[in-house]
């Protein structure tokens, strides 16, 4: 290599670094939100079981909830860790995490809209703190998911452009 090649950056590589850095951060956020979802599910299940007299009747719902939480955990961990691998340039072949990321982002949009619809009722029922915190956390999760999808697409696009050059 020449010194020039090692010491100068073209605009594409600057953009690639920017989106890789962004992908790294949003991948990390996705991993954290995966763990957060599990934690929240455990707290909610425990809360329900401790306040109901007949817990046996709740068992089917609890089982479904736990299964969904586990699927959510695995999916988000896969997407988050794959995104971080791609950000580090370690993905040898293109993984399907981007499709799953889009699905998570779409579900996250639906979830945030649902929370917004339910917001006034939740405020009356629980007071303002719980709904506001829930909305803030889910909106952040949505932002992370959208950022992950956008950054991953940009990284692939720029890598393709650079590959063509």
């Amino acid at each position: 290599m020449t010194k020039e090649q090692l010491t100068t950056q073209n605009p594409e590589s600057v953009r690639l670094l920017k989106y890789r850095s962004s992908l790294m951060a949003s991948g990390g956020a996705m991993v954290l939100f995966a763990l957060w979802t599990v934690l929240r599910s455990i707290v909610e299940i425990d809360n329900e079981l401790s306040t109901r007299a007949d817990t046996k009747a709740l068992m089917p719902i609890v089982s479904v909830l736990m299964t969904v939480s586990l699927i959510d955990l695995v999916l988000k961990l896969y997407v988050g860790l794959s995104a971080r691998r791609e950000a580090l340039g370690r993905n040898k072949k293109k993984r399907p995490y981007l499709v799953l990321g889009i699905i998570i982002a779409a579900l996250s949009v639906v979830w945030v809209i649902y929370i917004l619809f339910e917001f006034p009722g939740a405020c009356r029922l629980y007071g303002p703190v719980y709904p506001i915190v829930t909305l803030a956390v889910e909106a952040t999760a949505l932002y992370a998911a959208l950022d992950l999808v956008f950054s991953a697409k940009k990284v692939r696009q720029i890598e393709e452009e650079m590959g063509r050059d």
Binding site: M1, K3, L6, Q9, V14, L17, K18
Partner: protein, 385 residues
């Protein structure tokens, strides 16, 4: 930079600028002294502790990182080791706190450097030496700030050494560690511990880049958070040669050659006969270039350059009577240090930043921090630092 450049190379530059052997020794001694003049040292010889130009590791570990403590740290490190390049830089993004810190980033040829050199004009050789330390450090410590800041001073995994082997240029990742022992061959260097806390002392100056800015031979690239995903290429051999030639120009200028000191001017023609030799010393892959610079300096002047020892200042100061202490080497150095620290603090304060604390106007002409009063009294007696 370290002893090799601040002491021995400054001796060479002073001698080439026209100072005698004895004068060059005084200049280079004071050029190294900012790395030794701690509060602990000053308190030990009963000199004004406000003139401290550096901090020991223990002093730093003991320093508070509340606003007052941070201002004290910033006054020392921004004034003497990381002279800010542009205190009024137009920063597009970020909050005021970030902008203030960004403006403390050190770089050569700033307005403050001009003021630094012109401040010691016609004054003591100790002042000249101190100014040469600051000038040289603007080259070595460029791109870092003399205040603890994770956003300005932190480094990440993008850190590569760039080296030439048999005409072929390559890069290799720098391995930073926190245990003793550095290896040029393995590209393994010590740096300070990483900490996410913005004002943690480990994020002061170039600690996170280890001593790499202090080694003249190394070329590297890294990516600070403030540079918007652009890496910075640091060519130490080239920077150190510029620092050497700028020191010659500055000292020639202070000796009365050609008006006020201007930035961006280098005495290349004075260094030209020795360029090959100087560049060979600078580019030699070694962690300590003292022996080479010493040999070059002794060849230049034909005189022996004694080893640096803080005791030279200490014994003279301690043995002087109270009324004569300001006339000793350490006395003149501390007065020059107070004047410089006050000037830098004042400029930072006037730029709208409180990172170095308040600066007061004492008599419409003299400005500075509270500690400046000693200097003010000294000047009112009709003396010049």
């Amino acid at each position: 930079m370290q002893l090799d450049f601040h002491y021995y190379a400054t001796y060479c530059a002073a001698y080439l600028a026209g100072y005698s052997h004895e004068e060059s020794l005084k200049v280079c001694y004071s050029a190294q002294f900012p790395d030794n003049c701690t509060r602990t040292f000053l308190a030990g010889v009963k000199a004004p502790v406000s003139a401290a130009t550096t901090q020991t590791a223990i002093e730093m570990a003991d320093a508070n990182t509340d606003p007052i403590g941070l201002q004290d740290i910033t006054r020392i490190w921004a004034s003497f080791h990381f002279l800010p390049y542009d205190l009024n830089a137009d920063v597009k993004k970020g909050g005021n706190r970030y902008k203030d810190k960004y403006r403390l980033i050190c770089n050569p040829n700033g307005e403050l450097l001009k003021e630094t050199v012109n401040l010691v004009r016609g004054k003591s050789l100790e002042g000249v030496g101190m100014a040469m330390h600051i000038l040289a450090d603007t080259w070595a410590h460029r791109y870092f700030a003399g205040t603890p800041s994770v956003v300005i001073n932190n480094t990440n995994s993008f850190f590569y050494e760039i080296l030439e082997e048999n005409g072929e240029w390559t890069e290799r990742p720098v391995n930073f560690k926190h245990t003793p022992g550095e290896s040029i061959e393995k590209c393994s260097y010590i740096n300070s511990l990483g900490a996410d806390s913005e004002s943690f002392i480990m994020n002061l100056g170039h600690g996170r880049a280890g001593h790499l800015p202090d080694y003249s031979f190394i070329r590297y690239k890294f990516m600070p958070a403030w540079n918007d995903n652009h890496f910075i290429y640091k060519d130490n051999p080239d920077d150190y040669y510029h620092a050497f030639c700028q020191m010659i120009y500055a000292m020639k200028n202070l000796r009365g050659e050609g008006g006020a000191f201007e930035t961006g001017v280098y005495a290349f023609e004075t260094a030209a006969p020795y360029e090959k030799e100087i560049r060979a010393i600078i580019e030699k892959r070694q962690l300590d270039a003292c022996a080479d610079w010493k040999a070059f300096g002794e060849k230049l002047s034909g005189q022996e350059i004694p080893e640096f020892s803080v005791d030279a200042f200490r014994s003279e100061y301690e043995s002087a009577p109270a009324e004569k202490k300001d006339d000793t080497g350490l006395g003149r150095f501390t007065l020059a240090a107070l004047a410089h620290k006050s000037m830098v603090t004042n400029r930072i304060y006037k730029s709208g930043s409180m990172l170095a604390g308040y600066s007061l106007d004492y008599d419409g002409k003299d400005v500075g921090i509270k500690d400046y009063l000693k200097l003010l009294r000294f000047r009112k007696r009709g003396n010049r630092t």
